[in-house]
């Protein structure tokens, strides 16, 4: 029996390793080789070290590294501060309307980063941004005349603000469990010792939650490092370059230099790898050393905010306005105009639904929506199936090399989307993979997204399989079932909730994916996110882009809330 299991596993192992090498190592290897070549991937030139010399002797590169770190650091500080504050308010205090706020806090997930950044450009363009115009008019009534601003969204500060606001929901979801499940005895002891609310939060609650917070900080920092939308929409016009935009313009702007892009990608990947390593350490630390859910009474103490209850609610409302209402409002306004203009009485007569009609009847939009559905469904399903296969091999078999496989996946977690896309360009534009004809199709986008998300999915499925006792599978094996049948008919049904959670996570990211399809999709394979960018950037049709964005946000809002509901019910049933 064991021999059969072993030989079957080895063949399966070889198959899975082959797929992962094809998805992860070969593209990255090709990118490293290409970083030492001149010319276009379509017509590679001779080998050279010039790309590295250019990349790392240029002062602009170090400015770019500083910008990337400042952007990620600043964004993370804002995100985590807001998320921790709201998590504390929603989970541990008696703030009014907490349940409603909890649901409202999920809605920012439905606003793609691209649209969020676009809407803030419309609000804070230095000269014609709606809020800037309003502030200048206000100042003017007090005799202070300003010719522009006072706020310039095309700046590092603007990028940090956008990134900081964007990640709050994700961090909230990451830490809310820890807040909810921490041992209330520690806080009660603090109160018993005479400490006040704030002292208890500062000296007990936050230190106890430190591992969860550290993991959230590192996760958010890594995500911000990868972030592409805000740097593209507001960073490029303001000439504030970060890694992701530098790689993008190296390959897509006036004079493409793919080798230079690859040279930048190398150090970008190494920085991300270090962060992912620490993130992994932090999550393990959290899991192993800080057990806060015990067999004792487990109902965290709710803090009474007293006269601060409504101001706290006010702060939440302010956040919601900045994160959802204001950007959505400006998108709706723009979508109703023939040409973008700041609000005025004169413009009111020009409002119409024409752009919505154009979207709903245009074949291009429907085609892009269909591509989005294909990409989302295929990428999510293939990613979690592959993740399940990998986790089963790593956790359940004794095949030699399984830990190397796990390490490979761990490293792939550090490959930013734009780097995955660049490596795929090199691989599929050069022989022998060029002959597959994948470049420019929805399938290359799907493969790149699987590469990008497989690491996260395996972390989820690894943990889920570990929790299933081996006895159940052994019973199947003793009854004569093949190892694959055991995996499919016993293990898989048991880890279905984790499978669903991972599927939803990948789907939620794939539906909004931007950098990968922007680099890899062609006109007939692009999803809605790229079409949005095309309308905004290439066609300069801001109202049409806004109308498409509003429709997309509405659809995603419904899906986000349904997914949340479905996930909760699925877990309850299981």
């Amino acid at each position: 029996m064991k021999e059969r299991l072993q030989s079957g596993s080895i063949y399966f192992f070889i198959l899975v390793v082959g797929i992962l090498l094809w998805l992860i190592l070969i593209p990255l290897g090709q990118m490293v080789i290409s970083s030492f070549r001149s010319g276009h991937p379509a017509a590679p030139g001779p080998f050279t070290v010039n790309n590295y010399l250019v990349a790392y002797t240029n002062p602009l590169t170090y400015r770019m590294i500083f910008n990337t770190l400042a952007f990620a650091g600043g964004g993370t500080a804002i995100t985590v501060s807001i998320a921790v504050f709201f998590t504390w308010l929603l989970e541990r205090t008696d703030m009014p309307l907490r349940n409603l706020c909890w649901t409202l806090l999920l809605i920012p997930l439905a606003m793609p980063g691209l649209l969020f950044s676009m809407s803030y450009v419309l609000l804070f363009m230095p000269k014609s941004g709606i809020i800037n115009v309003f502030i200048r008019d206000l100042f003017s009534s007090f005799g202070v005349e300003l010719s522009e601003g006072p706020i310039n969204i095309y700046s590092l500060g603007g990028m940090i603000f956008l990134d900081g606001m964007r990640g709050v929901t994700t961090v909230f979801l990451l830490i809310t469990g820890a807040f909810r499940m921490m041992d209330p005895g520690l806080e009660e002891a603090s109160f018993a010792a005479g400490a006040k609310n704030w002292t208890t939060v500062r000296r007990v609650t936050l230190p106890v939650l430190r591992p969860a917070l550290l993991a959230a900080v590192l996760y958010e920092f890594t995500s911000s490092m990868e972030s592409f939308e805000a740097p593209l929409v507001v960073g490029l016009p303001g000439r504030v370059f970060v890694y992701s935009t530098m790689i993008y313009i190296s390959t897509r702007d006036a004079i493409p230099n793919y080798g230079l892009g690859a040279a930048f990608a190398g150090s970008y990947f190494l920085m991300a790898l270090v962060l992912v390593y620490f993130y992994q350490r932090a999550t393990l630390w959290q899991a192993e050393r800080f057990t806060t859910v015990t067999g004792k009474g487990f109902r965290p103490h709710t803090l009474a905010l007293g006269r601060w209850r409504y101001p706290a609610l006010g702060l939440f409302v302010l956040y919601f306005i900045l994160a959802v209402a204001l950007p959505l409002g400006v998108l709706i306004w723009t979508s109703l105009l023939p040409v973008y203009q700041p609000p005025s009485m004169k413009v009111l007569s020009e409002l119409s639904w024409a752009h919505y009609g154009g979207i709903l009847t245009g074949s291009g939009v429907l085609h892009a929506m269909w591509n989005t559905v294909i990409i989302t469904m295929f990428a999510a399903t293939a990613t979690v199936l592959l993740a399940f296969a990998v986790s089963w091999l790593v956790v359940r078999t004794k095949v030699k090399g399984r830990y190397a496989l796990d390490s490979l996946l761990f490293a792939s977690h550090a490959v930013p989307g734009i780097v995955v896309a660049l490596s795929f360009i090199f691989l599929y534009l050069e022989p022998p993979f060029r002959s597959l004809g994948l470049y420019g199709t929805v399938w290359i986008v799907c493969l790149a997204l699987i590469t990008q998300y497989i690491a996260f999915a395996t972390r989820t499925t690894n943990a889920a399989i570990t929790q299933i006792h081996k006895e159940l599978e052994e019973a199947g094996e003793v009854s004569g079932a093949s190892p694959l049948r055991v995996a499919w008919q016993i293990t898989f049904p048991l880890i279905r909730p984790a499978f669903i959670a991972a599927w939803l996570w990948v789907a939620a990211h794939a539906v909004r994916a931007f950098s990968v399809p922007l680099m890899l999709a062609s006109r007939d394979s692009w999803p809605v996110s790229v079409m949005l960018w095309h309308l905004w950037d290439e066609e300069q049709n801001l109202p049409a882009a806004a109308a498409l964005g509003v429709v997309l946000i509405l659809v995603l809002t419904v899906l986000t809330l349904l997914a949340r509901l479905g996930l909760a019910k699925g877990f309850e049933q299981t």
Binding site: G39, H40, P41, A42, A43, N50, V54, N58, L60, M64, M125, P126, K127, S128, L236, P237, R239, F241, M246, I249, S250, T251, R252, D253, A254, I255, P256, N257, L260, V339, Y340, Q341, I425, Y428, L429, R434, S435, G437, L438, Y439, G440, T441, S522, R523, D524, D537, E538, E539, Q540, L542
Partner: protein
């Protein structure tokens, strides 16, 4: 006298012979196109702009001439879109029968062997419109000028703007420019400003904190909104498009001398195109007088070599600087040098 008559007759007969050959080959192409029945074209002209037909009109007239051909049209915009097209062609994905690249992409396209070689001159295309590498044709001419916001710069000042003003400290932080400043490439030529003066100008642009835009139409939109006062190196055709669609109320435009003139975008047939004859027919027609006058009407960038087009009228009697073939062939190198000087992160 006899010799002159003889030469005259010889030239006449030769021209007649060439015309007959051209007509014959065009006829042959048209026969082939009839069998193909369709052509997929991807060019830079917008289908419609502000409710006015652009490429739409172009396609309609073409189909009146060649009713047996169904034209599918798609727009391929700026450098990023063109890079996508080039990469797709290199990967063997040939989506179009006729498409367009920038001058700077031509060497890569040739090395990647993605171009169908066609003897355009033998098909009657004006030799000046045939790309120096003989690989495609320049179908869309551009005049470069200075656009300004009339609320921020009076017409008295705006009409007198010179190229040197783009880098003048007076306009610090108020000037925008395309991140592919093609007009500077033309000024770079030794017979115009020359390398040293152009690079010094480019460095001054950097010192002046010039705003670099990646899209000319986008720059014009922001100019109209008042995001900056001046847009240097703007296309006359973009201004014309905005005027035609009623969006140029606050925009003025001046053609500073020397007026940079470029027989722009390179149109070609990708290797492996499904409808080769139809593609040739489209390109030859688009370069004909009818095609160019139509382009002039919808976009304002018909050939300045054809009398009566807007470009021809605008440069008449003025000092124009043409982008000479020998320098266009080195466009990538020249642009790199300029971008380095202005400090954009595209480096050698």
């Amino acid at each position: 006298m006899k010799t002159k008559i003889f030469i005259g007759v010889l030239v006449g007969v030769s021209l007649l012979f060439l015309t007959l050959l051209w007509a014959q080959s065009l006829e042959k192409i048209a026969e082939g196109a009839k069998k193909e029945g369709r052509v997929k074209v991807a060019l830079t002209v917008r289908w419609e702009e502000g409710g006015k037909p652009g490429a739409k009109k172009f396609v309609e007239v073409f189909q009146t001439r060649y009713p047996f051909l169904k034209v599918e049209y798609e727009r391929v915009g700026g450098s990023r879109e063109r890079e996508r097209v080039l990469s797709e062609l290199a990967a063997g994905k040939v989506s179009y029968d006729v498409t367009v690249l920038s001058e700077t992409q031509v060497p890569t396209a040739l090395r990647a062997n993605v171009v169908e070689k066609v003897d355009w001159k033998s098909l009657g295309v004006n030799p000046q419109h045939v790309h120096p590498d003989g690989f495609g044709v320049n179908y869309r001419s551009q005049l470069y000028g200075i656009a300004y916001n009339r609320k921020l710069v009076s017409d008295d000042v705006g009409k007198k703007l010179r190229w040197e003003d783009c880098a003048a400290p007076k306009w610090k932080k108020k000037v925008a420019m395309d991140s592919r400043p093609r007009h500077l490439e033309i000024l770079w030529q030794p017979n115009v400003w020359g390398r040293d003066k152009t690079l010094a100008h480019a460095r001054q642009l950097a010192a002046n904190e010039t705003i670099f835009e990646r899209d000319r139409t986008g720059a014009m939109t922001k100019l109209a909104l008042g995001e900056y006062a001046i847009d240097c190196g703007s296309f006359y055709s973009t201004y014309y498009e905005q005027t035609r669609s009623g969006k140029a109320e606050h925009i003025g435009f001046t053609l500073a001398e020397p007026i940079p003139v470029n027989l722009g975008d390179v149109v070609f047939i990708p290797r492996g195109a499904a409808h080769l004859n139809s593609a040739k027919l489209w390109i030859v027609w688009s370069l004909s007088e009818e095609g160019q006058r139509l382009l002039d009407e919808v976009e304002g960038n018909g050939s300045p070599l054809i009398p009566g087009t807007q470009s021809a009228n605008l440069i008449k009697g003025k000092k124009a600087a043409w982008y000479e073939p020998q320098y266009r062939a080195k466009a990538e190198e020249i642009l790199k040098e300029i971008l380095e000087a202005v400090g954009l992160p595209i480096v050698r």
